[in-house]
């Protein structure tokens, strides 16, 4: 299997980026992500009516002078993040016409994001799943975590069905609330209902969720020629067809499928991004981080 790590110079460039969650997360250590709790950071969050026992150091004396009422200032607490990368290792991911397979792209993306998070003090874990099989490394912020994640992702051989729902049913109870859950998949053998259920389950853990939809360009264009027998990787289904004859309708159906996935994500408050196998992962990642930072009104780099 090809390496799932970015080149050293790409990783070096990645060090200068930060990834902040949009939602408040609960971590065990101090970090850079907003926490639901109040803390001692320098960033003011709100006033609170003074109650006996409150630390008088935070009493807002200026406000007391103006209003003759006692308020104490409360500040943001910043904590670290637990991130779970769920990587689809089904047979359909073992397909790629632009150099790398979809799974290789997904694993590289998960690996790179893990590197970024671990580098900023967060905990990162990976679950590579397929129907009836899961390989899981729970999130840790320790040194050597990246190597473990890399070894796991390198060892996985995509095959079989997806089994997303059973995976979520098994993993979600183990996922800390207010963490980051990233699902990387092609969503090909999921019915719209199953996809909805999966996304709803992710929403229920109140984690910040993101979906990377991996697509090979040929899946989008059906650019084959001549009489072709198409074989499914996960099922025994076979289709004999002239691609030229069905191309237009197929493209339309695929675009609708992608749009449905995106719509389902948005409906469940899950961030959605498309990862194409013909685009280098590092380029996609840098672009993604910058766009995300723009949306958050922060800078992507340190």
């Amino acid at each position: 299997m090809a390496t799932v790590l970015l080149a050293p110079e790409k990783l070096e460039r990645l060090r200068s980026y930060v990834l902040r969650t949009r939602r408040r997360v609960t971590g065990t250590l101090t970090g850079i992500h907003p926490s639901p709790h109040y803390g001692a950071s320098i960033e003011f969050r709100e006033h609170k009516t003074y109650s006996p026992g409150d630390d008088l150091r935070y009493l807002d004396w200026k406000l007391l002078a103006k209003t003759d009422k006692h308020y104490v200032k409360q500040f943001e607490k910043e904590t670290n993040l637990r991130a779970y990368f769920l990587v689809d290792a089904s047979g359909s991911m073992d397909f790629g016409t632009a150099g790398a397979t979809k799974f290789e792209c997904a694993a590289t993306l998960a690996s790179a994001l893990s590197f970024l998070l671990l580098n900023q003090g967060d905990a990162a874990g990976v679950a590579a799943f397929r129907e009836g099989s899961r390989s899981v490394v729970l999130p840790r912020a320790r040194s050597g975590q990246l190597r473990i994640l890399h070894e796991l992702l390198s060892a996985v051989r995509p095959q079989g069905g997806t089994g997303l729902l059973p995976t979520l049913q098994e993993l979600l109870p183990r996922i800390h609330r207010r963490s980051l859950v990233v699902l990387i998949s092609d969503f090909l053998d999921l019915t719209p209902e199953d996809l909805d259920r999966a996304l709803a389950m992710m929403r229920q853990v109140r984690a910040e969720s993101a979906v990377f939809h991996v697509i090979d360009p040929v899946e989008r264009s059906l650019s084959f020629k001549g009489r072709t027998e198409f074989v499914g990787p996960e099922t025994a289904a076979r289709v004999l067809a002239y691609p030229e004859a069905i191309r237009a309708r197929y493209r339309e159906a695929f675009a609708r499928f992608v749009a449905d996935v995106k719509a389902a994500c948005l409906a469940n408050g899950v961030e959605h991004a498309e990862l194409s196998t013909d685009e280098p992962v590092d380029r996609f990642l840098f672009r993604y981080l910058e766009q995300r930072a723009v949306h958050q009104g922060v800078t992507a780099s340190r």
Binding site: G91, S92, M93, F95, K102, D186, L188, D189, D216, E219, F224, G226, R227, T228, E229, F230, V231, G232, P233, E234, T235, A237, R238, V239, L240, A241, Y242, E244, A245, I246, R247, A248, R249, Y250, A253, F254, F257
Partner: protein, 694 residues
């Protein structure tokens, strides 16, 4: 429906190719792993049935496309569409078909004769009542025409129309057709309009008011070119030890070919293959010398040009009997007067030294009263040297003209006993000259007599003298001679005296030939006998006449020419004839007393005709070479003005191009090629549409 190039039709069998390819590749679709197969399955459920039909339609379109292409190449046409001529279906109609050899000119896959008969066939269906079909070339009247209302009989007549290799007369055919339409009607003449077959026959044909003539120029569809016209001669040299085969080629344009190849064959052996650089209109000769295989057998030779679009003039045949011995009867009129000075003395010397391997000369020297009628039958060449005809037995004298016409050669030497008036009277019918009495040469101081000069040193008779460069007859001095006045059309002067009078004249009479010397065979009137040229000239004269006149008659005839061939077996009733192609046929043997002969005439095809079947030991076989009439090779054409000069009345000249496509009523042959091409274009569009679905 017919095809201009039916030979291309078998390409339609390639229509099996798409079917075979379809069957072979049906199970060989490319396999492709494709994860979003669920989407394809959903779409395919809707299109599977359509795709099945599309595949079948594509197969049908491709198969039809191959067939249509083959059809288009073969030049399809629909014949018989509204087949009636514009003159109406019930008007008496005659079709005159020029079936001369020049109509064999190929145009596409068919020759002009086939196109002409197809054209007529297409129109027969629309005609009512009796239709007259006439062929310009035919030997027998029953072969020349047919009048019938039975379509089958008319079709058979058309189908059986074979090319006639003799000369044809178009105007004669039109007169015949007029005779068959006493109540008026319409005559269609289908001809290639060669000038030689449209020669005027003494006055124009005036058409009645109720008769129209359409002349269809068939040559208009001919796009080929003649490689050239070959003619052939052959003659023995060196007393029969060798034969010169001489092919003369008049080169044509030859479709741009840079040269012409002439092949000369003797028997089954190619004896010469000569490449002639083409310069259109040039006459070029190809010569080869051959030894006859066995003395006494027939020499069969042919000269052949590479076949071109006009095949009938690309080959010529030649046949001749080679002789083991020639029987020469020498009658000396002045016998015994001075034995060592007489004609018999000199002439007998001339027959002594014949080259080894050549034909033996068997001279018999007799006195005039010894010449019997039977002797004439056993003689190849008769020499009358200074003979008073009155001294010959009457019966023998009367038999000389017949013997000459049957093929005997006759050489006359004049002298004081040979009286001009007698010769004119008794032998005038076969002689090429009129004798004008004895004439002495005006004396020239210091010269004895006058010399001789040849009209043409290339004449075969003068061949031993190498074109006059080796002295020969030019050194002979003549002091006295009999005046010879050549008869126009019968006599040709070979040697002249210095004063311009004829000295040696040749002529033909039936199958035989004659040579007349104006002077004597001894030294009485000239010194010819003491010159070295004498022996060669006399021997050459004997061979020359013997070859021209075979006792059995001519061996080289033109198609359509009727000749009489003596047959050696009077007891035979019939003689089998084996033609160069086709089935054998019989000729009746005709007899009169002890003489037997067969009359031979064939319309063609050219080649060697073997009379007597397959020879067994002792059986006699005659071989006759039949060649096309040379007038068939003259391609100069007659113009519309000339046609209207020779046929006065309602005459229309049509070009075959329009004729073949239905010129009179827009009917007849309808060219289907544009329709098939449209179909091909439609099929190509269909193939593109079905084969590349978007």
């Amino acid at each position: 429906m017919g095809f201009l190039q039916p030979l291309l039709l078998p390409f339609a069998a390639l229509a099996a190719a798409p079917i075979v390819i379809h069957l072979l590749t049906r199970s060989r679709a490319r396999q492709q792993l494709f994860p979003p197969i669920a989407l394809l399955l959903r779409i395919q459920q809707n299109t599977a049935r359509f795709n099945r039909w599309r595949e079948r339609a594509l197969l049908a379109v491709r198969t039809a496309l191959v067939v249509a292409l083959a059809l288009a190449l073969a030049g399809p046409f629909l014949s018989g569409v509204g087949a009636a001529p514009d003159t109406g279906g019930n008007e008496p109609t005659a079709f005159v078909i020029d079936n001369s050899a020049s109509m064999l000119a190929r145009s596409g896959g068919s020759n002009l004769l086939e196109l002409a008969t197809e054209w007529v066939q297409a129109r027969l269906a629309g005609l009512e009542g009796r239709v007259h079909l006439l062929r310009l070339g035919a030997l027998e009247p029953d072969e020349a025409s047919l009048a019938s209302s039975d379509l089958d009989a008319l079709s058979r007549f058309l189908k059986d129309t074979r090319p006639y290799f003799g000369a044809v007369r178009a105007l004669h055919g039109i007169k015949e057709a007029l005779g068959k339409l006493p109540e008026g009607g319409h005559i269609y003449v289908l001809s290639d309009l060669r000038k030689t077959s449209w020669e005027s026959e003494g006055g124009a044909i005036k058409l009645p008011d109720n008769v129209g003539v359409d002349v269809v120029d068939m040559a208009a569809v001919w796009e080929g070119a003649s490689d050239g016209v070959v003619e052939m001669r052959a003659r023995p040299t060196r007393h029969g030890t060798e034969w010169d085969l001489n092919a003369t080629v008049a080169l044509g344009p030859g479709n741009g070919k840079p040269d012409a190849v002439v092949t000369l064959r003797a028997g089954s052996t190619t004896v010469g293959r000569i490449v002639l650089n083409r310069t259109e209109g040039n006459l070029l000769n190809a010569v080869a010398q051959v030894a006859p295989p066995v003395q006494g057998e027939a020499l069969l030779a042919e000269a052949r040009l590479a076949a071109d679009d006009l095949p009938h003039d690309d080959i010529r045949y030649f046949a001749a009997d080679t002789r083991t011995a020639l029987r020469v009867t020498l009658v000396e009129g002045e016998f015994g007067s001075v034995p060592l000075e007489g004609e018999a003395f000199y002439l007998s010397k001339a027959f002594l030294k014949v080259p080894r391997g050549g034909t033996e000369l068997q001279p018999a020297i007799i006195r005039p009263h010894m010449l019997e009628a039977n002797t004439l039958k056993a003689t190849d060449v008769l020499i009358l040297a200074n003979v008073a005809l009155a001294s010959l037995p009457k019966e023998s004298l009367a038999g000389i003209p017949d013997a000459v016409r049957r093929g005997m050669g006759l050489i006359l030497f004049m002298g004081k006993r040979a009286e001009s008036a007698e010769y004119n009277e008794r032998l005038g019918a076969i002689l090429p000259v009129v004798f004008g009495g004895e004439q002495a040469v005006d004396p020239v101081p210091g010269q004895a007599g006058i010399g001789l000069t040849a009209v043409n040193w290339g004449h075969p008779l003068l061949e031993p003298f190498a074109g006059g460069t080796q002295g020969g007859p030019s050194l002979v001095r003549v002091e006295r001679y009999a005046r010879l006045q050549p008869i126009s059309g019968r006599g040709a002067v070979i040697l002249r005296l210095g004063n311009g009078d004829a000295y040696l004249v040749e002529g033909r009479a039936g199958a035989g030939g004659t040579l007349v010397f104006a002077s004597t065979a001894d030294r009485e009137w000239n010194d010819l006998p003491v010159h070295p040229a004498f022996v060669a000239l006399v021997q050459q004269a004997v061979f020359y006449l013997a070859v021209q006149g075979s006792p059995a008659g001519p061996r080289n005839v033109l198609a359509g020419e009727r000749v009489r061939l003596a047959w050696p077996d009077p007891a035979a009733r019939r003689v089998a004839v084996r033609p160069p192609e086709g089935e054998s046929f019989d000729l009746p043997v005709q007899t009169e007393g002890s003489r037997a002969w067969v009359e031979f005439a064939v319309p063609g095809p050219p080649g060697f005709y073997r009379l007597g079947g397959v020879p067994r030991d002792g059986d006699r076989q005659l071989v006759v070479a039949v060649n096309p009439d040379p007038r068939e090779s003259v391609l100069e054409r007659v113009g519309e003005a000339e046609i209207k000069e020779r046929i006065v009345g309602d005459v229309q000249l049509r070009t075959a191009d329009r004729a073949l496509m239905g010129w009179t009523t827009g009917t007849g042959r309808q060219d289907l090629t544009p329709i098939v091409l449209l179909l091909v274009a439609g099929l190509v569009a269909g193939e593109l549409l079905l084969g590349n679905p978007r």
